[in-house]
């Protein structure tokens, strides 16, 4: 993708719709077999788990903050203008001094702008952390939402901001198709959708495809725990012209290796080969997008 004439390296998002299809497993193994330095972004900031597998020796952490209002009691007249504009009840004023509820604030700054007596200023409020680490040729960028905070997208945006522009990146998305997923997919070049051949998997794959297409992103499918296709998954992919870049069998060894915190690409050579092939197929697919690999 091109920004101000500078070519940026490609960003591949791994999403699914349904949870538990194997997004993190695919992201990790693809990164392991990428064949050149690559970044791996853990955008599942509500429960980041990539580093359980990567085990970076050192993580450089920084706080993600959001501006929240602070009320100067001596200037607040209790007029209620701030509470009226806030749709989230992050600030409430009922004749008395305005009260701020940081956990409900979305950081829009509307209350500060509408306060007629200039009683509201802003201060940074921590909503999470971003950690950066390195393991072999993989550069990890992990987002972690603070407990009790529900604003996921700002932490995901902070993860994206920590990504280097000149190195390809694989972004491991959270499940679903709501704001956190859109925050991950936005400004990506390509989407890999991991699914399984179950009614739930196919149902959510359709939602995920619709989301990716709404964002104008090309996408391909990876089938995990492939076996008998009773739900018409492959038929759907053919009809929708979605390339199936990889089918992983329903193999007990995959679960065993993964549950130990290891990568199948390392522990089981046949799968290492499959992920190396996936990386090559992706490079062909991405040539069209004009991104640097």
């Amino acid at each position: 993708m091109t920004v101000k004439g500078i070519k940026k390296a490609v960003r591949i998002a791994v999403a699914s719709g349904k949870g538990g299809t194997g997004k993190t497993m695919v992201s990790l193994n693809l990164a392991a077999m990428f064949g050149r330095p690559v970044q791996l972004a853990d955008c599942d900031v509500e429960e980041p788990n990539i580093n359980l597998f990567l085990r970076c020796a050192q993580l450089e952490k920084s706080d993600v903050t959001m501006q929240i209002p602070e009320v100067d009691a001596s200037r607040c007249t209790g007029c209620g203008a701030c509470g009226e504009i806030c749709q989230f009840h992050g600030i409430v004023s009922l004749g008395a001094r305005a009260l701020v509820f940081p956990e409900l604030c979305h950081g829009c700054g509307g209350c500060m702008r509408t306060c007629p007596s200039g009683a509201i200023t802003e201060r940074p409020h921590s909503i999470g952390q971003v950690a950066v680490g390195q393991q072999g040729h993989v550069r990890l960028v992990e987002g972690r939402l603070e407990v009790g905070v529900s604003l996921v997208p700002p932490v995901i945006r902070a993860v994206r901001e920590q990504l280097l522009d000149d190195m390809p990146a694989i972004l491991d998305a959270p499940p679903g198709t709501s704001c956190p997923v859109v925050a991950t997919l936005r400004e990506s070049d390509y989407v890999l959708l991991v699914t399984d051949p179950t009614p739930f998997g196919l149902h959510d794959l359709k939602l995920a495809v619709a989301t990716a297409r709404q964002l104008d992103l090309p996408c391909a499918v990876i089938v995990n725990r492939a076996g008998e296709d009773q739900v018409g998954l492959y038929h759907y992919c053919r009809t929708e012209k979605l390339p199936v870049l990889l089918s992983l069998p329903d193999d007990r060894q995959i679960a065993e290796v993964t549950s130990r915190g290891d990568l199948i690409a390392h522990a089981l050579p046949e799968y290492g080969l499959m992920f190396a092939e996936l990386a090559e197929k992706l490079k062909l697919e991405l040539r069209a997008s004009g991104g640097l690999l």
Partner: protein
């Protein structure tokens, strides 16, 4: 004490108390001076994804209530009610009638803090 709000699942004095405040079905508001009753639907609070307690507190404060009788009240709702001068009474009465009798007889004590965590 002039205007009292009760959290209830019904619409009159005989109705069951709703132990929740933020996500209570209705507020029954009793005006002692005028001996009148008013029912307020707490739809906004019930349907809120977050901040139900704050929403409910705003609703009763705007209605001019000075006393709230409910089962439990969380920290955010309590903060708004307290700042607005509303006295909060927690009770285990089964019906609104019973809760009112307890309040008027002085057996209920005003709460000095929230009695449950948020999202209890």
């Amino acid at each position: 004490m002039n205007k009292i709000a009760f959290t209830t699942s019904g619409k009159d004095f005989a109705a069951q108390m709703d132990p929740r405040f933020g996500r209570a079905a209705n507020f029954l508001i009793y005006d002692i001076e005028h001996n009148s009753l008013q029912i307020m639907d707490n739809k906004e609070g019930r349907d809120a994804s977050q901040g139900a307690g704050i929403q409910a507190a705003e609703t009763v404060v705007r209605a001019g209530v000075d006393t709230l009788v409910t089962g439990h009240c969380g920290p955010k709702a309590f903060k708004v009610l307290d700042a607005s001068g509303v006295a909060v009474y927690n009770c285990t009465a089964a019906t609104v009638e019973e809760a009112l009798a307890g309040l008027l007889a002085g057996t209920l004590q005003p709460a000095s803090a929230s009695d449950v965590e948020g999202h209890w």
